[in-house]
């Protein structure tokens, strides 16, 4: 069974600085998707960035980028120029590409605090 682990329950960053959130996962499959979701206090999950496992190039979305290390099964999120609005809980998630099930398997989450 696939599992996703986020080992940092809480992280803190100064406004305008850079922070990296860690995620590791376990799977025997060779093709899959990885995601980072943001969940602010309003509870609505928002997709931050996604990575297809077959792509070697790391995904980037504006101030957000990932470091995808397939052999190490590691998928970290880097937030550059942190803003107060980045404060939220961040979840790493895994999804198979095969079969009918589309379920996301989530990690435990990392709460990010941004200090002014």
């Amino acid at each position: 069974a696939q599992t996703v682990t986020q080992s940092q329950p809480e992280m803190s960053v100064q406004e305008a600085e850079t922070v990296t959130l860690s995620c590791t996962y376990d799977t025997s499959e060779s093709d899959y998707y990885l995601f980072w979701y943001k969940q602010p206090p309003s509870r609505q999950m928002i997709l931050v960035i996604r990575q297809e496992a077959y792509k070697q190039q790391n995904a980037t979305e504006n101030r957000f980028s990932v470091n995808f290390q397939k052999a190490a099964k590691s998928f970290s999120l880097k937030i550059s120029d942190s803003q107060l609005g980045d404060a939220a809980m961040y979840f790493c998630a895994y999804r198979r590409t095969t079969g009918n099930t589309g379920k996301l398997i989530f990690g435990q989450g990392t709460t990010l605090q941004v200090k002014p």
Partner: protein, 117 residues
């Protein structure tokens, strides 16, 4: 484009009572998911519908939870009878599966926070 709608936003009930949650997915999204998010944890899939058929309900406690998606649009999740450990946020998500999908992105609703006392 309207997002995923859920109601109610909050619900407080006593144990052994029943409760129902409603979800309206994004128009045109064939796939609908219900997730349970216990405080301090990541969401866990309860059930996945493709149109009005069940694709995955392997983690749905079927002795007390039930869900339906009549006509392949709206969905209702019911708990009867509720237990203390059912206190959680129930998230509904929808996605546009198939060739037109953008890497299987799931769009989430605001969730329903259930407290069982």
């Amino acid at each position: 484009e309207a997002g995923v709608a859920q109601s109610p936003r909050y619900k407080i009930i006593e144990k052994r009572q029943s409760v129902a949650f409603w979800c309206n997915p994004i128009s045109g999204h064939a796939t609908l998911y219900w997730y349970q998010q216990i405080l301090g944890q990541g969401p866990k899939l309860l059930i996945q519908f493709q149109n009005n058929g069940v694709v995955d309900d392997s983690q749905l406690p079927k002795d007390r939870f039930s869900a339906e998606r009549l006509k392949g649009v709206d969905s209702t999740l019911k708990i009867q009878p509720a237990k203390l450990e059912d206190s959680a946020v129930y998230l509904c998500a929808s996605s546009l599966e198939g060739l037109a999908a953008k890497s299987y992105e799931q769009y989430f609703g605001p969730g329903t926070r259930l407290t069982v006392t």
